[in-house]
Point group: C2
Chain length 345, copies 2
């Protein structure tokens, strides 16, 4: 019977499910400019456009409280939303915070979580304007919605990349993922032991990237100062490969990015070596970097290269040429969205 058809969600993955659920959903309100499909929705409520983004974090899926302090979790939960607003070339202004809390947690625990959220808000000049707090049967649930603003003509979507545009990334990639591997390794080593000292020496950068990421408003500011409005932009939360494919798909272009140009910190490289993991895979698919991936016209090569912390890693091509990584040996490896995607696990 048709009614009893059961399709496993894992067969579609997160993006497939969203596409399926939100298909043929025309916007009816004048104030709705852009709906599902970018880092944030774009609403028209005034001279400036209003941006809205939201993130749902579930204990056991997105975070493990055996090694993540609650204050760090709060900070990160807020910052990842700010990152989505910056990725539209906007400025975050308000958040709402919804919490589902099991009896395992005390008021003091929630105060620590909130201390982290508040610190993030203070650092980024964002107001907490509302939320919902309720009990939960199992663990901690955090849902944050962020509202921001942007000049209409300066909003950067994922769909504006053109053939021959340069592909740029900020900072370095793969460190947050390696930080997670490190924490997981020490968790296993620690299991059942008392008086255990985790081996984090010389790897502080990896931990910081995993536990206390920052949104790249400095890069957004540098781009504005240089008079550069990217043709497409998004933040790297699921891994470079996955995000590049989003931009290629939505902009209807292909791309070539060069392995030798992908920025990787030396601590990331050392950790990959220790764990016997492929470094480039970690940088391409690791996720949670919260760096910016953006494209600019070829004519801006010198201007964009002059910005500290920005690296040109490749260029856009005709869509028929597909999306490939050029390895150090010159071979072409097709990019796949193997990113951090809990729904397809």
């Amino acid at each position: 019977m048709e009614e009893n058809k059961r399709t496993e969600i894992s067969t579609l993955g997160e993006f497939g499910l969203i596409e399926r659920l939100t298909a043929e959903m025309p916007l009816v309100n004048e104030s709705s400019c852009k709906g599902v499909g970018d880092d944030a929705a774009v609403l028209h409520y005034g001279e400036k456009e209003t941006l809205v983004t939201t993130d749902l974090l579930l204990e056991g899926v997105h975070f493990d409280l055996t090694y993540v302090p609650l204050a760090h979790l709060g900070y990160k939960a807020a910052v990842v939303n700010f990152s989505d607003i910056y990725a539209m070339n906007g400025t975050p202004k308000q958040i709402t915070v919804s919490l589902g809390v099991s009896k395992r947690f005390s008021v003091e625990d929630m105060e620590q979580l909130y201390a982290g959220i508040r610190m993030a808000c203070a650092n980024y000049n964002v107001d907490i304007v509302g939320g919902d707090t309720t009990s939960s049967m199992t663990g901690l649930t955090i849902s944050i919605t962020c509202i921001g603003e942007a000049d209409k003509e300066k909003i950067v979507y994922r769909n504006g990349a053109q053939e021959n545009d340069l592909v740029c990334v900020s900072g370095d990639l793969g460190a947050a993922y390696m930080g997670l591997q490190l924490l997981e390794r020490e968790k296993v080593a620690f299991a059942g032991q008392t008086d255990f000292t985790p081996e984090f020496g010389g790897k502080e950068y990896l931990l910081e990237r995993q536990l206390k990421p920052e949104a790249r408003r400095d890069i957004v500011a540098s781009l504005a100062q240089a008079g550069i409005v990217p043709t497409a932009m998004m933040d790297i939360s699921d891994g470079l490969s996955s995000e590049l494919l989003h931009i290629c798909k939505q902009s209807n272009v292909g791309c070539r990015v060069y392995e030798e140009r992908i920025p990787i910190d030396y601590q990331t490289a050392i950790m990959a070596e220790e764990l016997n993991m492929n470094l480039v895979t970690a940088a391409l698919n690791g996720g949670e970097d919260y760096e910016l991936l953006f494209t600019v016209p070829l004519s801006m090569h010198d201007a964009v290269s002059a910005i500290p912390g920005v690296k040109v890693i490749g260029h856009m091509t005709a869509p028929s040429l597909g999306s490939y990584l050029i390895a150090r040996d010159g071979s072409e490896i097709q990019l796949r969205a193997q990113g951090w995607n809990p729904l397809s696990e």
Copy 2:
């Protein structure tokens, strides 16, 4: 040790926890007009004000899928957010929908849930503009944020009630709670049986109020048409007692409401009788009515009484007189916030 202090969240309850977490949190952005403490936040992004509200629903806490169809759940999850926007005298315009989904659920299940959300959006002219979808370890999590708009001078907060204002409610109270009792009763009766036909005859109204509530935009429209801007307003989600106390506290007034004037449907009364429950307690503390509770100046008595579906149930007093229900026998019963509050259970 101070650091190890553990205060159970149940000792504070939902509102106490929110107050504690959001204490001393000044708003820094010009566009943040009103933060935590009303049905929705108020933001200034244009000529009209922007309203934002959010709700987090967790399986096992807020809904039981043994008797709630997913489409109904989706409809309700959206409508309760619209209700918060109407309760500010605004109009809902956009929502974001975040879902946490365990492997128990199929794509078809999520399509049913979304069909309900979409139907609610279609009925209320609201756009779905974004969201987040992720896997969950246990059950279903739904987090919806709603954005709406309102004329600045027409926004109604909870803090504007004055002494001698009339207390009004729309529709009738307690039916959604009785619908829940009915569903729970049949669930217990059904347990372990096959081929069981639940006894819902003559109680369709209670089920509808529980499973498919509507937001009272008709009342908001009627008030506007009659030229009435309430002095205070909120929607009744946690029960009349709890909401009245919110308005009294925030407006610094007391109140007297009259048992004989509280609107109750006959099906609610019959069900209370069947279950041997106190009818007035159900109407005062039942929750999930999503009716509007508002106050108007005494001079508007005739105008507000003429609106179909609105009933004057009492009046505001000096704060020193406290908040009381006048029973049919003339005795005064102090109102208590015994409402539906999962955090204090």
